[in-house]
């Protein structure tokens, strides 16, 4: 992890223009992903994790506003560093869309075009990003389908997504995403829509492929259990802000931020089935009324009234090497392991 980061996100601020005014979706998000590293991004729905992921490929809707100081820097071996947010023409975006970065989506069914065969969609992508002929592209696609564990890949190649089972669709999606040998793979809740057993198969498959291809992965999920299995590092998001980030074991064993603690306490514990589940109190506020200071303060049960968190935004303080949380320095000692 001493290499230069594959992708580096600095001060990412994303707002949406709506009838109700500008709505903040992502605020001051920073992270790096090194080659071969898996960064997990965890949060409830509406926490801005998908918006963050889509911004890496500039896939957000037309009413998206990026702050001028927001930087997303991608380094590629062929083209050097690319400032993603400075790409304006869609022709130039090819490199971040399916070239150096690929994405797999939550619903494998809906992410394949229903009336175009799976193979055609795979070949189409290869023709855009490589100099292959159609025949070479076809061979590579079938090889990729085979690699992701799809039986009879040559036959499946000519079939349509509706003829695949749920798990197989996600495998095909992964095969398609990896066929162009991207440097970074964005996986947006790739296992959420799948059965638990299939989920495990897909996770195994992904782990194998990481070893083989050595790309970086941004893995988005709301499921801490999945993160524990696959990620090296994890960032916890709430209302568009990163609350805590660090090596996955450190964060799960010693959660420093009240929100992370809440998330972990809300998980059922298999070793103590009688332990009561403790949900985080309160509701996610409407995006129209962002809390001041630390966005989590209205739901934090540990805070005394009038604390600094109500008015000031806490900095990311180091808890242990590589492990940071949005806390004021005076609170750091209390949470050190």
């Amino acid at each position: 992890m001493t290499d230069a980061p594959l992708i580096s996100v600095k001060d990412l601020n994303i707002r949406f223009k709506t009838d109700e005014g500008l709505i903040t979706a992502v605020e001051n998000v920073n992270f790096d992903i090194a080659p071969g590293e898996v960064l997990g991004l965890v949060g409830e729905s509406g926490s801005g994790k998908s918006v963050t992921a889509k911004s890496l490929m500039q896939l957000n809707a037309g009413n998206t506003v990026y702050d001028t100081e927001s930087r997303i820097t991608l380094s590629t071996p062929e083209r050097g560093t690319i400032e993603v947010l400075e790409l304006k023409r869609e022709k130039d975006m090819e490199v971040i869309r399916g070239g150096a970065i690929s994405m797999i989506f939550q619903e494998p069914m809906a992410s394949f075009a229903p009336a175009i065969s799976v193979g055609d969609q795979m070949v189409e992508q290869l023709l855009i990003h490589t100099d292959m002929t159609k025949i070479e592209a076809r061979e590579l696609s079938i090889e990729m389908l085979d690699k992701t564990g799809i039986p009879e890949p040559a036959k499946r190649f000519d079939q349509y997504a509706f003829e695949f089972s749920g798990g197989m669709r996600q495998r095909a999606m992964i095969a398609m995403a990896l066929s162009t040998k991207p440097r970074l793979l964005i996986a947006d809740e790739p296992t959420t829509a799948l059965d638990v057993t299939i989920q495990a198969q897909v996770l195994d498959l992904m782990r194998d492929l990481i070893e083989e291809f050595g790309m970086g992965i941004l893995f988005i999920t709301h499921d801490l259990g999945v993160i524990a299995q696959i990620a090296d590092r994890v960032s916890v998001m709430y209302l568009g802000r990163i609350m805590e980030t660090g090596p996955v074991r450190d964060v799960i064993r010693n959660p420093a931020h009240a929100y992370t603690q809440g998330l972990i306490n809300a998980l059922p514990k298999l070793d103590d089935l009688d332990a009561p589940l403790t949900p985080i109190s309160g509701d996610i506020p409407s995006p129209l009324e962002r809390p001041s200071g630390c966005v989590f303060h209205p739901r934090n049960p540990n805070l005394q009234p009038g604390s600094r968190y109500e008015s000031e935004v806490p900095p990311m303080s180091e808890i242990s090497p590589g492990h940071y949380a949005a806390l004021f320095p005076e609170d750091v000692e209390a949470v050190r392991p």
Partner: protein, 336 residues
């Protein structure tokens, strides 16, 4: 291939069944109308000066077979229509309906179909472009124009065009042929004359059809544009026209094809009115004549049945086309 034929056969069977059902509906409605064909004919005769009695009416009913039970009469009507293509005699004019209709029905069907094609030739590209454009001005004005197409009924449009044409050219553009060609045999000159006049009914019928089609295409495109597979395709590096035509437009095609039958239905609904204003003498006009002037249920039934049969035929054709375009349908057909 065999399975595809099977599918086509099943669909054809369904279409035939629909036609049977429709013939039953039309026939029953024509029966429900007060007065029988015999009464009507004799009443018509009466106005010509010959006196009639109840016995005359009964004799005439017997001659026409109207004393048989309803189902038997329906059966023989349907049988004649399906196997011989015969609609029997008109109630009042006492002429064979097939002769009466002649090529008039074909001409009207051709005009309506042309209007339909005209509507979609405009609506498909315009609808697709407007759905993927962000220009509020373009979208609002298209919306206004297509609503105007709905709110300005085509008989008003026809009136306006006639007004302008009467003032400017001294010719109200009515009728499908100029006087000298009206009863002439088909010839190149007659055909040219036909074309020089047929554009007006085509334009008027196509006007509101275009408005409707535009709405349909736009709504379908907006639907498709929002789907995840479009985002996924963009995430693979597709953009611009290549993305537009291969993804959302390609997938909106199925529902668009599906709506053709109902659009033709709508055009047929407007045909009689346009026919009246432009004093066209083809089927729409004939229908009006049959209804308004002579209460000829036999002729009216035949025309309505023919119109419906055309729509059923179009629906059958679109079903087949849909199966060719959409693998989901094709495969489900082949699979079964």
């Amino acid at each position: 291939m065999v399975q595809f034929l099977q599918f086509a056969l099943v669909r054809a069977g369904l279409a035939l069944f629909t036609l049977l059902l429709v013939s039953l509906i039309v026939f029953s409605l024509m029966e429900m109308v007060p007065g029988t064909c015999a009464e009507r004919y004799l009443a018509f005769k009466n106005t010509q000066g010959s006196g009639i009695s109840v016995a005359d009416i009964e004799a005439e009913e017997k001659r026409l077979g109207l004393d048989r039970p309803f189902v038997v009469r329906w059966g023989s009507w349907v049988g004649n229509v399906f196997f011989k293509g015969e609609f029997g005699d008109s109630c009042i004019l006492r002429v064979n309906i097939n002769q009466l209709l002649g090529d008039k029905f074909l001409i009207s069907a051709a005009i309506c179909l042309t209007a339909l094609i005209f509507a979609y030739l405009i609506a498909v590209p315009v609808g697709i472009i407007s759905a993927s454009s962000n220009s509020a001005l373009l979208n609002d004005s298209l919306r206004f124009v297509s609503y105007l197409g709905l709110a300005l009924p085509n008989f008003l449009l026809a009136l306006m065009i006639m007004l302008v044409s009467t003032v400017l050219f001294g010719d109200s553009l009515t009728g499908l042929f100029s006087n000298e060609y009206r009863d002439a045999e088909w010839s190149v000159d007659k055909f040219i004359n036909f074309l020089s006049r047929a554009w007006l009914p085509v334009f008027i019928l196509g006007w509101s059809a275009t408005a409707f089609a535009l709405q349909t295409v736009r709504a379908l495109m907006l639907d498709e544009n929002d789907k995840l597979y479009v985002t996924a395709a963009r995430a693979r590096g597709l953009y611009g026209r290549r993305l537009l035509w291969r993804y959302p437009a390609r997938h909106a095609l199925g529902p668009i094809i599906n709506s053709l039958g109902f659009d033709l239905n709508r055009i047929f609904n407007e045909l009689p009115i346009v026919a009246l204003i432009l004093t066209l003498t083809e089927a729409g006009g004939l229908l009006l004549e049959a209804l308004a002037r002579s209460n000829d249920q036999q002729l009216a039934g035949a025309i309505i049945f023919l119109l419906t049969a055309t729509i059923v035929a179009i629906n059958f054709a679109t079903d087949i086309a849909l199966a060719l375009v959409d693998p989901r349908i094709r495969k489900s057909v082949v699979g079964s």
